[in-house]
């Protein structure tokens, strides 16, 4: 088991290395990305500019700069921002992680529960109006731009209906750590959770329904029926169980992608200081050290999620083990 694991690890490192190089090159291809003038200030003389460039190592060839950034990021772990000079990058990312985790975990709970509910209800009532209605709603959920949903949610809960009994409890945007005030944490995240979950409820509900309907056509369900098991039991003990394999692997990938910064738009719209927003700000500021750190972090989660799901798949379904 050791060798494959190492191999997998090497593959992950390769992918992350590739990403880091791409990001690095993108950064240096951006006009105006040279931070020296921004660091130096608005009326710096060319001499001062040269001094700043030198002190930040920006006058060195790109490969050296790349190695230095990576060395500072992974080995000495003291990479600091170009914009907020002196700010260490790694603690900032670590600090943003719980925010993203809070957002994604809460949303995941909601979307898993509702996704299963939608899928099971639709499959159980397939062909009826309920099924169609749920599938339509699911598709609507999949079709909505998340930032727009967030904006409209803000409009309703923060402005238009904020003073009504319905939404007066909604706190201002922003994030409160759970350690500081769990109730406020919950209240301030519930709207973002729902916003983020809508897409996935639709997605998972639809996929689950399709799988369930497929499962119903399989022999073992017919056998179970023949044995006289109740429909509920067939649904939950048999059909759902097999259908969940896809569900779980989908979940793994989505969760990884979201924790890795995929919730960027939600974080931006709801003003949550998570990794996604950190990344977005870094990209906007062209703050190379931050960009490198957050992109490495993000791709790490995506790569790990990919690996875990592949392994889980191979484990659940040996047929795919060699198929690639």
């Amino acid at each position: 088991m050791l060798l494959p694991t190492l191999r997998r690890l090497a593959e992950m490192i390769f992918v992350m290395l590739g990403i880091s190089i791409v990001v690095f090159l993108i950064f240096f291809a951006t006009p105006g990305s040279d931070p020296a003038a921004r660091i130096a200030g608005r009326n710096a003389t060319p001499e001062t500019l040269a001094q700043v460039r030198h002190s930040f190592g920006l006058d060195q060839p790109l490969p050296i700069q790349y190695i230095k950034v990576m060395e500072k990021l992974f080995i000495s772990r003291d990479l600091t921002s170009f914009v907020n000079r002196g700010q260490k990058v790694i603690p900032a990312v670590i600090e943003a992680t719980p925010v993203t985790l809070s957002l994604v975990l809460g949303a995941a709970v909601i979307w898993v529960i509702f996704g299963i509910w939608v899928g099971v209800t639709a499959a159980a009532t397939r062909g009826t109006v309920i099924d169609r209605g749920l599938m339509l709603l699911g598709l609507v959920g999949v079709s909505m731009p998340v930032f727009w949903v967030g904006s409209v949610a803000n409009l309703i809960t923060q402005s238009r209906f904020h003073d009504t009994w319905l939404f007066h409890w909604v706190p201002g945007l922003g994030y409160t750590p759970i350690t500081q005030n769990p109730w406020l944490w919950f209240k301030s995240l519930i709207i973002p959770w729902m916003t983020l979950a809508i897409l996935y409820i639709g997605l998972y509900g639809r996929v689950l329904r399709a799988n369930l309907v497929e499962a119903y056509q399989e022999d073992f369900i017919r056998t179970a029926r023949a044995k006289g098991l109740s429909e509920t039991r067939i649904m939950f003990r048999h059909a759902l169980r097999t259908s969940l394999i896809t569900f779980v692997s989908m979940f793994g990938l989505d969760f990884g992608a979201l924790v890795g910064g995929g919730a960027l738009l939600t974080e931006v719209v709801f003003d949550l200081p998570g990794v996604g927003r950190l990344t977005y700000q870094a990209l906007q500021n062209l703050d190379l050290p931050f960009i490198m750190a957050t992109v490495m972090y993000s791709s790490f989660f995506v790569v790990v999620a990919n690996a875990l799901v592949d392994i889980a798949y191979a484990w659940l379904d040996p047929r795919v083990r060699d198929a690639r």
Binding site: P4, T5, R7, D310, A314, R321, D322, R324
Partner: protein, 339 residues
């Protein structure tokens, strides 16, 4: 018979597959699908090839036609060494050696019309005149007992047996002299199987074909094959006249295979069956010595160490066993005693 020049000769053919990926769990593994296989196929005969699934018989069939590259050994077709030829050089030879596939569903591209599928070899091999192609198509449909109007239809509109007829029509389109039939009936219903086997025999009569007929079902081989080779784990363990092999098997594995067929003996009792112990060993990690020794009811110490070579017995019959069986129906009921 042995004095004749074989149409096709395989000498010490070895084939190894690389499985898995450097980047996947498990990594790369080498599977020895064929090890040191030698056989001859003579013009006009039907050589049956039997064995459990995974024993390498399909692989052998494909290697014989050079659909696979070899890792070792030599294949001579009509006196020409074809083992080193590239796919491009092999192309002209394809007209003379064809294959019928096991799965009539998978071997016909579902997106193409039957006529197009059967005409493909004609077109590829240079018969470009459309009328000529159409005539040949009708002729072929007639040969395999299908209505020519089917030519404009798609494979999914046909039953398994019909599809296999289409596959056969395609294989004989270029009038080859050799056809490797890779379990052509095993995917079909029993009633259809007989029809297809009959078709094969008819065609052999009409067109003077030579067959390598692969099957895991002994009864089919018994029906069609003049000679039979039995394979186990990538090697031939027994080879000889079909009657001789099936009635007086010399290899304990052959004996076990035969006894696995539920066939009433002359007394009307269902024969006691030799049950093979366990699963066939993994070809990635074959056992040393005689490959069959792990399941052999009569294995001895020598079998674990020394690889038995295929050696001739009487009547052009050969076997790869240190302790070949003797006499008719020998292992009946005896072998399980060792279990």
């Amino acid at each position: 018979m042995s004095g004749r020049v074989p149409m096709l000769e395989a000498a010490s053919v070895t084939k190894t597959f690389v499985v898995g990926s450097r980047f996947r769990s498990g990594g790369i593994q080498h599977v020895q699908a064929l090890s040191d296989v030698s056989l001859k196929v003579f013009a006009g005969e039907t050589l049956g090839l039997v064995g459990e699934s995974g024993c390498g018989k399909s692989t052998l069939g494909r290697c014989l036609l050079r659909l696979y590259d070899l890792n070792g050994g030599r294949i001579t077709f009509k006196g020409r060494d074809i083992s080193g030829l590239g796919q491009r050089e092999l192309r002209p030879l394809r007209a003379d050696m064809q294959m019928v596939f096991q799965d009539p569903y998978a071997s016909l591209n579902p997106r193409r019309r039957v006529g197009d599928l059967i005409a493909e070899p004609l077109r590829v091999h240079g018969r470009r005149r459309e009328s000529e192609v159409q005539d040949r198509l009708r002729e072929l449909m007639d040969l395999v007992n299908l209505s020519p109007e089917f030519l404009t239809r798609f494979p999914h509109e046909f039953s398994g047996g019909q599809r296999q007829r289409i596959g056969i029509a395609r294989a004989i389109a270029l009038a080859p002299s050799l056809i490797v039939a890779d379990e052509p009936v095993s995917a079909l219903d029993v009633s259809v199987q007989a029809q297809i086997v009959n078709l094969f025999m008819d065609l052999q009569d009409k067109l003077g074909l030579t067959y390598v007929f692969i099957a895991h079902d002994l009864s089919v081989v018994r029906q069609i094959a003049t000679r039979t080779a039995v394979m186990y784990l990538g090697g031939i363990v027994e080879l000889g006249e079909t009657d001789r092999v099936l009635h007086r098997p010399a290899h304990p594995y052959t004996a076990a295979l035969i006894s696995a067929v539920p066939e009433p003996d002359p007394q009307g009792n269902i024969r006691a069956r030799t049950i093979l112990r366990g699963e066939p060993p993994s070809p990635t990690n074959p056992p040393p010595g005689c490959r069959f020794h792990t399941r052999c009811p009569i294995a001895q110490e020598r079998c674990r160490v020394e690889v038995p070579l295929l050696r001739p017995l009487e009547d052009a019959h050969s076997v790869a066993c240190h302790f070949p069986l003797d006499g008719p129906n020998l292992p009946n009921g005896a072998a399980p005693g060792h279990a």
